[in-house]
Point group: C2
Chain length 480, copies 2
């Protein structure tokens, strides 16, 4: 497949996205509509995401656990907004072991309810708080329009669920995790996200306040890439999560939940990819460096391969993830294209002359052609490669940031507002009224993405859509 051209992003972004995923072997369609198979290359990317987030969750005091896939239908009815939000999306098991069940079981779309039930059993006293638990799990939401990674019926995520003694602690936790997501996205995935508050109509079903990180894709659409919810006492009251406080009085807990999913892989693809295919950020790339040996005959091969293998060992000793492409039925040019398609950040070419000279040629994935090529001394390869990968990591972030900022507009009138939504995002004063938001959506297909945490100091303005007084500025954009 690698020798067929991908569609150009500028011609058909959506088709580019779907094809690059399948050709790069990140994922494939499963036989059940809307479900996907995550292939080894895609799953290795997800495992690298997991490793980094696990470190951050642990550093902030969280532990992993595992809650059940099935939730009694009745649990969903205990929190009014939650059931309204999720009912249309539920997959329901009605038969087990050949007989019809007395109470249907829901395949979890998210786990607040069942975890709330367990917390009510585990939490007795203020000494048991806070409870800080995360799980890595699959969840199912019955989606009508699905897309690989972005919106699939089954998807994979982590969902954190915490319980606290005070409202302040719950808010602090919610923002702490928003910060974990922001740092991960920017520093590890090189995705320049904007953290902020969701509007009332965009918040999680059952939350008091939802925060998200929002990213701009290569077609300028917005993608919600992670969410952190302050659930107040809503679920604690629905599931009787109570504790005896230090004054010996019974209190309801304050809970939070937060998640980041395989959707984030879609964000990486659409933030960095180009017409040649994927570009993966070095800190997450399953293969950071591919070594392509170049030889014409067996005699050359016998000279080149040991040098290629030695180079690999040298790089792997520096904890780099390296692959030698030793397939002997394919031409180097074919291999170059294939590894470009698969987004490997750095390529090293090594031929008979390089073996003699002690140098090899490197090619950066993020800078096509000659400009991205450099001669690297084999003797000092590991230090050189570590540096070059860091340079690529930062260059990817800077490029994405420049692209994003070049497509954020600050409209002051309707004409500018509509043009902003056609060309990118609008950053504008907004009244925060749900009716106004609904009108914007109906008229422009754009939605409020988030009210950023950083706001112009002490200023106020008038709503970009309805002209009413506005306290805060918001990002408005068409979104995935």
């Amino acid at each position: 497949m690698a020798d067929m051209k991908l569609p150009k992003q500028s011609e058909n972004y959506s088709e580019w996205y779907t094809q690059v995923i399948q050709r790069a072997e990140l994922a494939d369609y499963a036989p059940v509509r809307g479900c996907m198979v995550i292939r080894p290359y895609g799953w290795a990317l997800w495992e690298n995401i997991q490793k980094d987030l696990n470190k951050r969750f642990k550093a902030t005091g969280h532990e992993n656990a595992q809650f059940p896939l099935f939730i009694p239908m009745s649990f969903f009815e205990k929190e009014k907004e939650h059931v309204e939000g999720f009912s249309p999306e539920l997959a329901v098991v009605t038969h087990g072991g050949g007989t019809e069940l007395e109470e249907p079981l829901v395949v979890r779309p998210t786990s607040e309810t069942v975890i709330g039930y367990m917390y009510s059993k585990w939490i007795q006293s203020w000494r048991d708080l806070p409870v800080l638990i995360n799980q890595w799990a699959n969840v199912v939401r019955w989606e009508m329009r699905t897309r690989l990674f972005l919106r699939t019926m089954e998807f994979f995520w982590q969902e954190g669920h915490t319980a606290h003694a005070t409202a302040e602690e719950a808010e602090e936790e919610t923002l702490k995790i928003l910060d974990v997501y922001t740092t991960f996205a920017r520093e590890i995935a090189a995705v320049p996200v904007i953290p902020g508050l969701k509007s009332n109509s965009e918040k999680f079903a059952g939350a008091v306040r939802s925060y998200s990180i929002e990213a701009m894709m290569g077609d300028t659409k917005a993608l919600q890439a992670g969410t952190s919810h302050n659930l107040g006492q809503n679920f604690a009251k629905a599931f009787e999560i109570q504790f005896v406080d230090q004054n010996n009085e019974m209190q309801h807990c304050w809970t939070t939940s937060w998640g980041l999913s395989t959707r984030f892989i879609g964000a990486i693809i659409m933030t960095h990819g180009d017409d040649q295919g994927l570009i993966l950020p070095p800190r997450l790339a399953p293969v950071q460096i591919v070594i392509v040996p170049i030889f014409k005959d067996d005699e050359e091969k016998a000279r080149v391969m040991p040098a290629a293998d030695a180079l690999r060992d040298n790089l792997e000793a520096a904890d780099l993830r390296v692959k030698v492409d030793d397939r002997d039925n394919l031409r180097p040019g074919f291999k170059f294209n294939e590894w470009e398609l698969r987004g490997v950040p750095l390529r090293i070419e090594i031929g008979p002359r390089d073996v003699e000279s002690g140098n090899v040629m490197t090619a950066r994935r993020d800078i096509p052609g000659r400009d991205g090529k450099q001669v690297m001394p084999q003797a000092n390869a590991a230090a050189w490669a570590v540096d070059l990968l860091e340079t690529i990591q930062h260059a990817l972030y800077q490029r994405a940031l420049n692209f994003r900022d070049a497509h954020i507009y600050q409209p002051t009138n309707r004409e500018e507002f509509l043009k902003a939504l056609d060309d990118g995002w609008a950053y504008a004063w907004w009244c925060e009224d749900t009716a106004c938001e609904t009108e914007i959506k109906e008229q422009t297909k754009a939605t409020t993405r988030c009210i950023p945490l950083d706001q112009p100091d002490g200023e106020t303005g008038t709503c970009i859509h309805c002209g009413k007084p506005a306290r805060r500025k918001v990002y408005i954009a068409r979104a995935y």
Copy 2:
């Protein structure tokens, strides 16, 4: 809960098992019958199992991926034995997004079918082989009688699925993984398993040959702790997994599958635990060392805590997993009991006098009372602790091996056979006839566990049950 006594193993082994899991906070019952919640302490144990197995799978050339939870019902009907084996255990989704589905979806009980379907799309040529993929996943089997970890409706496992060009390679793979499981069980979990072939009636539904590792629990019952199946061309034919070979001819692949599940946690509990609670093997224990500071007042506390924290830092720097129990509302004796219940292999006590003397007291979990206590110099704590944990690891294995071997009998007549099954396992000649096996099961409730790979050289005998000629010896036992 930790201050209430556990039931003694000798009085009620089954109740001991259930209580120790809940009190040690490994797992709890979920609201849905037969499902469990794996709590942070239990999940950390599972994550350590995953880490070790992942290393071994990678070293043998396997990659992780993720296949879908839902499988069309029709897929199960393509392999005759498979559908017969699994039909009674299926959980079925009939409704999604508020409407009835045209074709019901099965929640995977195992993934041979859907993976076979995908492999038929991915595999074209001999160059694509072998395909060596593993997934860590949850699966669902509708069980009537469930027990925490041992048999739950939803459980967690890894399932490897491989495709090969020849029958020999498939058999080699099947045995290679059996060896991975055996080594993991013995060296990492300190569980002395016996690898062998399952009888025809005990093999996996759809396999040509199944192998397993079998472990003896503390009540002498057997537990199947991991399985590796040679599927021949059964699934390749059912799902048309074909490739063009080097002679340009179309061939069916030869496939394997193999799994080890959270059931293995049950094996660890019942291999090593005692009347005081869990005993976790150091190489898997989430907490390898607990430091209990001992002080009477704030003045003593101010002297002891910095020393306890310094000791922890020292041990953690040697990659040990350490916890300081700094709860100030509990007595040291209560903490000792609690960490014994939770199976932490090594305890370190540090009080004001220890701070001065430069020594601390260590207590081995596997040797109760004074015999397990040793004075350890703080200055050399890390090297000392590493050694001591290795000693404990080996002692646990040796003890379990001695126990097992003391409860394996080689009966030569019916009376000895029945007595062997009451007191432990029988190791005896067997005719390998299914009708004979059924009779044994009906009369004794024991089943053939495995035909071990190591057999008496060149010998033959007569079947312990029916007296017919027998080629191989087998283990027969009552089992979980």
